[in-house]
Symmetry: none
């Protein structure tokens, strides 16, 4: 059984929603990869009674707790005092901590403000965690069954202290057996359809399956115990991916991390030094924007007039083929991708109405096309338009059977 | 005393750190603005015992609880069942919910998968919250002293259900005395510069000032007690805004909500039926993408060759003027906006190197221009490029003095 860890975040800016708690997410990823079982995240503000109550709660539930925030110099930074009161470990002055804090200011030619002296007071028996990246030292201590680690809330200080001191310490302190996570990434297939596919396969009881629906991809996640045989892992993953079919654009965690849809396309285009030119309509710039940093995108354009041709879908496809072929030649691009839609402007803007998104891909030998009906807000339709168009290119590059290319 | 609310997030993707809990942050902002005191955020995964335990805990502590996640159709979506067990309210089939779910699929011409039937099972006595944006209906119920609201975890569905149903219901159900929040929105000025400006003004002790640095705008937030006189509020806000200067593009919360930079531009262009055509370089499609749904954007283009002219900044500005003038004529657009940059591709891609972003705006009478040096990741530079270009147009439309227009 993997040790149970909780994440504790302290700060009014978190509790009032001024910032999302990205520290909790970052720490959780680290702890999961180490082999911990993350059981709970809790955030509270700067009320002493809340902090004390929460520390006692966690001590009774978890094997380990990583806390961030509340170590600053100001009066609303209460964590050390809360620990002292909750666990009856009076604050004691740490001479070395004060030298480090005053050294931090000295290196910047600033006189240390008197308030920072407070940061050198640590609970009795705590081990100091040196902080070269800011003024607040962290600290750690055992209370009853739980190992508590306290880190500053500034993300880059917290990450440095965790990576360089806390992580190696935890690896020595706990007996950890990390599970192996494999993620099958898909576009154009819903969560319930994914589940229906996966249900066709017999999944061993030791393997946990879960799903995650995102804006840019849907994921099927397989979690294997640390001692699951690698060959059996690989066979099961391939079996599930084959069952889901051509919607799978990448598998992360087997031997590599493929990244998102654009990264997968980038790998395929770069292998053959191929290039792409794009005409956008419903996606209105978003295909180009998603391809930032990639050399193979040579041009893209959006023109309101082309988005409002009021032609039948068949005529639109012919127009798209003609425009795409011209673009492909004028840009000397390997591929031209034309993204357009069939539907009124009103239907496009109305979240309750659907439009038909069409993509035509001009290749070196011919073309292929795909249409899809989508509903939702303008922004959702725009994003789906960009992704369905890019996915048409991905399917062609991966030579998926569900795609029927036509030859000129 | 304002009622105490807790935020409860359910999902393995949150607890394992695959996503930051942005739902908790969004809900907290909403609840603070309504007049609630947010006391705690908690996230747990999909373990039934954890869910049941947490529901009981919250019922004993809070006046209200907003829960998101765990209402999906798959086997790891346990929230309704956990509520049923925790509060002894057996799940009951809701005929209307099933009609809505099957209607959702019918409108998309998809047969409803059998697993989605589960989403029509609600705890006894719960009030259904209709969901037109997805398949999972929300629900709410009183248990002991606490009013519980359960919403789907997909952010855009959650936000719609909260805004359109939950928020008005909470306003009727609780006696709330919200403080008045006024947000002064700026682009192109940093948090510490904002603070230096505001420090020039004497802020009454009853008013709380805070700052928020965002990706698309920086905010100066003034929080007034619920009984603060409206005239005094207005005078102080205008004083602070004047001190900050031309970087202020909108003020939210005085008498209206202006929205983001694009919404402000949209209002100004629509008043005079003016139109815009764009050439993008570092922003690579993002200006067009941000203007989705606005009629005044008539065209935009990105061309890799134009992004790599290797000219001096002065020559680039002349090239931009010529291309912009041609575009303005060919599209019959009121304005042409040309976004380009000075710097190597390598500097663009390297987060530690800077590039100079330049924008040229062609108007009916002449032109104006602005340059800005930026560092950071590719994505950050891309976003800054789009926003600095749009902000040039905003300053021209608002006739800001910091801008010096030139006449042909």
């Amino acid at each position: 059984m993997n040790p149970k860890v909780e994440i504790f975040s302290q700060g009014e800016e978190v509790i009032t929603g001024q910032v999302a708690d990205t520290n909790a997410a970052w720490l959780s990823q680290q702890l999961v990869s180490l082999g911990f079982q993350v059981s709970r995240h809790t955030a509270v503000g700067d009320k002493m009674a809340d902090l004390i109550g929460l520390l006692k709660e966690i001590a009774s539930r978890a094997d380990c707790c990583i806390c961030s925030g509340g170590l600053g110099p100001t009066s609303d930074d209460l964590t050390a005092e809360a620990v002292a009161q909750a666990f009856n470990l009076p604050l004691q002055f740490d001479e070395v901590a004060l030298q480090q804090i005053s050294g931090y200011f000295a290196r910047r030619n600033i006189a240390m403000p008197e308030v920072n002296r407070k940061q050198a007071m640590l609970p009795q028996g705590a081990t100091r965690i040196d902080n070269e990246w800011g003024t607040a030292p962290g600290f750690c201590l055992q209370y009853q069954h739980c190992w508590f680690v306290f880190l500053p809330g500034v993300p880059f200080e917290m990450q440095h202290l965790f990576t360089e001191t806390v992580r190696p310490d935890l690896e020595g302190r706990f007996s950890l057996q990390p599970e192996k996570l494999v993620i099958i990434k898909t576009w154009g297939i819903g969560e319930s359809a994914l589940q229906a596919h996966v249900n066709q396969i017999e999944i061993p009881a030791a393997v946990t399956v879960s799903y995650r629906a995102g804006v840019d991809e849907n994921q099927t996640k397989l979690l294997f115990p640390h001692d699951y045989p690698p060959e059996a892992t690989s066979i099961l993953v391939q079996q599930v991916a084959a069952q889901i079919g051509d919607a799978v654009f990448a598998i992360d965690g087997l031997d590599k991390t493929a990244g998102d849809l654009v990264s997968v396309i980038a790998d395929l285009l770069n292998q053959k030094s191929q290039t792409l030119a794009v005409i956008e309509s419903a996606s209105q710039g978003l295909i180009a924007a998603k391809c930032i940093g990639h050399d193979w995108l040579v041009s893209s354009s959006y023109n309101q007039k082309l988005s409002r041709l009021n032609q039948s879908e068949a005529d639109l496809i012919n127009t798209a083929k003609r425009l795409g072929r011209e673009l492909q030649k004028s840009c000397a691009a390997t591929f031209a991708l034309v993204q357009f839609y069939d539907g009124s402007e009103q239907a496009f803007a109305d979240k309750n109405q659907t439009i038909t998104l069409c993509s035509v891909l001009l290749t070196e030998q011919g073309f292929c096309q795909q249409s899809k009906t989508v509903a939702g807000t303008l922004q959702r339709k725009q994003n789906q338009a960009a992704l369905y168009a890019l996915d048409l290119l991905r399917r062609f590059l991966q030579q998926k059977e569900s795609l029927c290319p036509y030859y000129d």
